[in-house]
């Protein structure tokens, strides 16, 4: 279980998160949604220690990690992986080496053993044939699949997906959605997904958390989100340029 309690985060004078509280239960697929700049990515990065809160408490499986030092987060990052928005594969490495890096670093395996293990993970996302290619040689959809393979290398129980379907063609986006669902059903992985993709939200999410003006504006199942009469939520769902939602 992951708990965010009264999280506050500001960058300079801009308050991004203002007293946000949220509990993510094991096995859930929770979608964090909101307009651009609403603080969705900022919120999820707190659990991995990639961003530190100005105030509030974060608990990971009951343990208070708010004051963790950087080195304390490394064991936690074995259990909680992240797929970044732009895949963030390392340009200087092949796809196989990208996937092998967390295996080598976290498990202390040799270079050869980590490559063998990485090849298996690439096979899970049907990418083993391109293992020796460079990230620059493949498209966004394939890069995203490799990034997912890299996140799966350590068999984490929690995965944070930051806009996993943004920039993907519809077919690739559906494949990613199915993968997220399959992970939850087959292995019980808890997924926190940052997204704007309404199709994805309504087909995959167990729960939707809508952030607005630094606060949790709505928290409930996708059906409650879809049926909401709140003007801000309606404007977001209908994608209307005019409405109460602040720019």
């Amino acid at each position: 279980m992951i708990e965010f309690l009264n999280i506050r985060k500001a960058f300079g004078s801009q308050v991004v998160l203002d007293d946000v509280s949220l509990t993510v239960h094991p096995g859930q697929i929770v979608y964090i949604i909101g307009k651009s700049g609403a603080g969705k990515s900022v919120l999820v990065k707190h659990v991995l220690g990639l961003i530190r809160p100005d105030a509030g408490i974060i608990r990971f499986e009951g343990q208070d990690i708010t004051r963790f030092r950087e080195r304390d987060f490394y064991p936690l990052r074995k259990r909680c992986a992240m797929v970044f928005q732009h895949s963030t594969l390392f340009d200087s490495m092949t796809l196989l080496e990208n996937v092998a890096l967390p295996i080598r670093k976290h498990k202390g395996l040799s270079h050869a053993d980590s490559l063998a293990a990485a090849r298996e993970k690439l096979a899970l996302v049907q990418m083993e044939a391109l293992a020796d290619r460079a990230p620059a040689d493949i498209g966004d959809g394939l890069r995203k699949r490799v990034a997912i393979a890299r996140a799966l290398t350590l068999d984490p129980m929690y995965i944070v997906f930051d806009e996993p379907t943004t920039g993907l063609d519809p077919v690739s986006a559906v494949r990613v959605d199915r993968l997220i669902r399959r992970l939850a059903v087959d292995t019980g992985v808890t997924s926190i997904v940052v997204s704007h993709d309404l199709r994805s939200i309504f087909s995959v999410a167990d729960r939707v958390v809508f952030l607005y003006q630094g606060k949790v504006h709505l928290d409930g199942p996708p059906t409650a989100f879809r049926a909401s009469t709140d003007p801000v939520v309606r404007q977001f769902i209908n994608g209307l340029p005019e409405g109460p939602m602040e720019l």
């Binding site: 990065k45 991995l48 220690g49 990639l50 950087e70 080195r71 987060f73 490394y74 990052r77 074995k78 992986a81 992240m82 970044f84 928005q85 732009h86 963030t88 390392f90 890096l101 967390p102 670093k105 976290h106 890299r150």
Partner: protein
Amino acid sequence: MKSLLLILRSVIEQTREAVATLVGTIRYTLESPWNFRAIGEHMFLVGNRSLVFVLLTLGFLGAITSLQAGFQALRIIGDTTIIGQQLLPLLVRQLGPTLVGLMVATRVGTGIAAEIGSMVVTEQVDALRMCNAPPLDYLVKPRFLACLVMLPVLVVFGVMAAFLSAMGVAALVFHTPPRVFANLDFVSLIDVGEGLVKAVAFGAAIPVIAGAAGLAARGGSEGVGEATTRAVVSASLAVIVLDFVIGGLAFLVRT
């Protein structure tokens, strides 16, 4: 007054970041295994790719210094044989290390800040942290070790280039025999030690300051640009300050 305070605050903040980066890098250097492949690649980038730049700049500088010093010597004492014996200690302990340091701060420091800064704004540094590869260990340490080794090497080549070109100019223009020009009696071990200590200190400071600037980059390409500028200004300033401090300490040793 307000802008002065802002500058002072910025200098203090950057110094704090650089010191934290230095301490962290030294800790990883002592505690975690070395990636010799990465260190070798960076040694090539720092050394081989800077060599022509260093040789040309120091070579021309030696020639210019010899020419100007020769004219002054002729005008004042009518004897150019003292140029070599005066120039060599100056090159070894002062001009060579400082100029090479400034050139590496410009050429290599900007590259380090831009590369690491780009990785920060594209979240690659966060991805490294997720892979249990701390940025100081994975990114800064190999560059730190490479510069530590290659700066003294570049200084040796740079001093040789400057001295040989100065000797050539003295022979061609002032007809000073190379045997007279290349008088090593005026170079002491303390001069050589001072030059090498400076080279090692610059080799430690430049990648650490540039790495700290890169890791502090925020935003997009504008943030990377700012980090690059900050790296070259701070690293150049550090070279000058370290030059002064080490030069002062060497002076105390001599006296």
